[in-house]
């Protein structure tokens, strides 16, 4: 389908807290570990026009290690493990570990979240992270326990060259983020969510010319749908927290939408690169830390995934 589905926001769902984890190893995009080989002309464009500079990598770690590192920064988790009902890992790539390893369950066990069910959400590419938040909200609301929480985990290890470099588009980093989702909170209240899948690109693992042509229109559609779902327009959005695919594509979209470019949070593009499903969550944490959001501000988390899925989620800070 190519029209955005704007699902009703589950009642009073909120992001209680978000914690990013930038791994310590900083790799300039021109010096990525072998065997990634970015053509020189593309590398120049990445640095000059796309705003990409470096990525954070986590060599020698497992997927569970980097997710646990993000969760370790959640101040609200210690002492509240018994309240966590769901641990949801959102993945761009369906398979990220050998078959005998289950990173999301390993996180659940190592955090001693004994009351939680653990599972993975995927098949919407990098848009799976917002799907996980929406799903967490629905489950928590359906359960009816106002104290219950869900832990959403995003970010992946880029084990292979095809995961580390998207030709013509971006370089992938291994930063991760963990978010606690609750009901009834007021701090980051979800107002609307929209998702769109265009199955014409279902077999793509790299952006085709047709996909690149359709991309801005489809992304614009899902941004508008998420805001309209809340009875608002893009003019009401104080800050757009994007996926960090590259600076150029977002500036083009801003121009197309008449949306002020300075209200798209692109600070992390040169720092983290594109980190699978984690970008909007990492950007939320950075934006809050930098004081870019005031109470009452509406912000839009937005992302696109190969496949091709697009998603946007509107919040009130």
């Amino acid at each position: 389908m190519t029209s955005a589905t704007a699902l009703p926001a589950a009642a009073s769902v909120s992001v209680v807290e978000v914690s990013p984890y930038p791994p310590p190893y900083v790799a300039p995009i021109g010096e990525l570990p072998e065997p990634v080989d970015i053509p020189a002309a593309q590398l120049r464009v990445f640095e000059r026009f796309y705003g990409l500079r470096s990525v954070r990598l986590a060599p020698g770690t497992t997927p569970a290690d980097t997710l646990l590192a993000a969760a370790a920064g959640l101040r609200g988790l210690p002492g509240n493990a018994h309240r966590v009902r769901y641990v949801i890992a959102a993945r761009t790539w369906p398979i990220g570990a050998p078959e005998e390893v289950c990173p999301v369950d390993e996180v659940r066990r190592r955090l001693r979240l004994t009351a939680a069910s653990a599972f993975t959400v995927t098949q919407q590419g990098c848009a799976s992270g917002l799907l996980a938040v929406e799903l967490a909200g629905r489950l928590l609301v359906a359960d009816g326990d106002p104290d219950a929480l869900a832990l959403v985990l995003t970010g992946e290890r880029a084990f292979s060259p095809v995961m580390r470099f998207i030709p013509g588009t971006t370089v992938m980093g291994e930063s991760t983020a963990a978010a606690l989702i609750g009901v009834g909170g007021q701090r980051n209240r979800m107002l609307g969510y929209a998702t769109l899948t265009d199955a014409r690109f279902a077999d793509d693992i790299a952006p085709s010319a047709d996909y690149q042509h359709e991309y801005p229109r489809l992304l614009a559609e899902v941004l508008r749908a998420a805001t309209h779902r809340a009875g608002l327009t893009l003019a009401d959005v104080r800050l757009l927290l994007p996926h960090n695919v590259n600076r150029h594509s977002w500036l083009q979209l801003a121009h197309r939408l008449g949306f002020p470019a300075e209200r798209i949070f692109l600070d992390n593009v040169p720092v983290t690169g594109h980190c699978f499903c984690a970008d909007p969550f990492i950007n939320l944490a950075t934006a809050v830390r930098l004081g870019r959001l005031a109470p009452g501000d509406r912000y839009l988390m937005a992302t696109a995934g190969m496949g091709a899925a697009f998603a946007a989620m509107l919040f009130e800070h």
Binding site: A41, R44, F49, G168, Q212, H248
Partner: protein
């Protein structure tokens, strides 16, 4: 007449330079690139259209919009733009 000849030479030089760059990005011989066929018709990817912008800035010492290759979408159109932009106005 002399002025026109110099202008033609410059246009030809720039056309050859643009053709070489585009052919390189398409991994095709320069002889395959016609001056009046849109870059998109050859399948020039957007990342290489931007790379061409960088090449123009480096070669001619001018700042151009990232939309350069879309605004001037053939060898002939881009060469004409570059001739006009990089030639001093008569005093």
């Amino acid at each position: 007449m002399i002025h026109e000849t110099q202008s033609d030479e410059r246009r030809n030089e720039i056309s050859a330079w643009v053709t070489d760059k585009v052919a390189g990005y398409l991994d095709r011989p320069p002889g395959d690139i016609a001056p009046d066929v849109p870059f998109a018709a050859y399948g020039l990817q957007s990342v290489y259209a931007l790379a061409l912008c960088g090449d123009v800035e480096d070669e001619f010492g001018i700042a151009v919009e990232p939309s350069l290759a879309w605004d001037h979408p053939t060898v002939a159109a881009l060469a004409a733009f570059l001739v006009e932009t990089t030639t001093d106005s008569p005093r």
